[in-house]
Amino acid sequence: MVLALILIPAVIGAGAFFVRNDPLRRVLLVATAVTHAGLTVACWVWRPGAAAGGWLALDAAGLLFLSITSALFLVTTAYAVPYLRREHDHVTRDAVEGFLFSNAPEATFTGCLLLFLAAMTLVTVSQHVGLLWVAVEATTLASAPLIYFHRHHRSLEAVWKYLLICSVGIALALLGNFFLAVAAGPTPLVFSELVARSGQLNVPWLKAAFLLVLVGYGTKMGLAPLHTWLPDAHSESPSVISALLSGALLNCAFLGIIRTQQVCAAAGLGDFSRTLLVGFGLVSMAVAAVFIVGQTDFKRMLAYSSIEHMGILALGVGLGGAGVFGAMLHAVNHSLTKAMLFLVAGNILGAYGTKSTADVRGVLRVLPVSGVLWVAGLLAITGSPPFGLFLSEFTILKAALDAGRTGVAVTYLALLAVIFIGMATIMLRMAQGVSVRVEPRRESWTAIVPPAVLATVVLMLGVYLPGRLTQLLQETARLLGHP
């Protein structure tokens, strides 16, 4: 079953490059998304065993992140197919600079999208250190052509930065993997084995390994100060891709970090690794706060918000105990919310033709449903009840206070407040008012149902956590929060 999860999207993705018929390709895309989601649901019911000699296995953390990825992919595919149909063979005029540009061939888009799904799935199921690395690098390479869907110089610049910075970061993570191999000695480089035999690991090498892996995968995850590629890549790519990047890919990179942290904690380096995580987490939140206030591009604002939430994730895991549970819940909530926000942003961009926050006014009037979702998204992403993020952020806050780290808690709250002010100013100003340039229009239901579904789920998670989900989250927390 695990192999099917990876191979189906991989094979169909490779084949999609050669399918000439556009409708057939779109059908294949939807079919793969549905099959993948179905298989994931099946994994919830019957937990599959290990494959490939223990290298591929679905533990609790893997299942959690796989579910997020699969669900997000399904919803974004529902949004993407009509989007592709609209953008097909389109020559668009760029809103910012006024030149004409075309899009990449749809076959490239679909093929890379499916390969991207396969790579992310591989990250979640991989239990071997080296295989995890290969999968993370594969996600970078599969997503680069996706960012360059709109063929113009800004997206090209974003792609180049993305490729180079992430590849260098991941190369450093490879060096970290080698350090880990030295620390492990004869122990096979499978995470469960490393945790089990943690007493035999060479501690100084493990320390250096964790540092390199944190920096390396942290680049991919968007932790400041390694985040410089993120605002460009997430703002220049099409909204569907931004949703997937923010919602699924950053989580996969985080998975790499927390698995290594698990090994460190088992070997007695828990304090060292947790301190680093808390540090990076707070710095990310601070950088995001600084750049969100007064941001002029709403997609960039959403990208910085992703950086902030990745910081919160790192902070949660760094605090330990209940903080890990909070972080895992936060991963679920944030992915769904951010994906929804990016899809709505895509609607706004499509209607207004501009990404500038100064030029967009009156979304509530022009696009009623999207406007409501936009305001709801603001409340959700900044952590207001009754949305799910409130619960997860509150759990992390409680963990900080319980651990006696009032300084961290105060900084955390202060930064959240600053970000709330920044985002609220921008997003509310965009939603309210009257638009002079753009007429109110009917929204196609394919553009509003996917984000609406996501918003509903986030709302529901704020009020009621399904038992199965709580169980999985607790299992993950237990797995990772090993003291």
Partner: protein, 212 residues
Amino acid sequence: MTLDTILILVVLTNLRLLGASRIGASVRTVAVQGILLGLLALLAHHGEPSVSVWLVAVGGAVLKGVVFPWLLLRALRSADVEREVEPFVGPIASLLAGVAALGVSLWLAQRLPLPDGAHSSVLVAVALFSILVGLFLIVARKKAISQVLGFLVMENGIYTFGVALVRESPLLVELGVMLDVFVAVFVMGIALFHISREFDHIDTHELTTLKD
């Protein structure tokens, strides 16, 4: 004896890269470095090299020595770019920085608590040196192709590190890493081509539209 010679040749290729003024020469130097590393992997192997080690070493040498330069030079040719390396830091300063980096790497390698005997420290020093040179090239060169070459040199350094310290790496992982680097260079080559077509140059210093 021959292992030492190969290591010194690798160091010389790195110094050559730092002082090079033409892109074609840089690409060819990286190719030579790739082949040298394949030889290194064979020579440094503890004990009798098995078939898988042979496969990885020869495959890696062919990939880095033949395929990558071909890909990069093809991207450059169709891009019709000027042949000069345009550095932020000139060749003389780069060379001096390289010699300093070599000193630092040797010093660091002696300080690291290595699990193996004396031989590893030279390998580790050369590995660290290649990583530092790769990072330097990425930062101190303007043209996108030089950044790709810097990335390759950095990967070479990390690979040398793996050869020095990791006793036995699973074949699948080695192949996976090679495949990843191959696809990375492939995608970067395509990006290079697009950049040259879009901007009429490949000076990444000019890519400053996106900022806050």
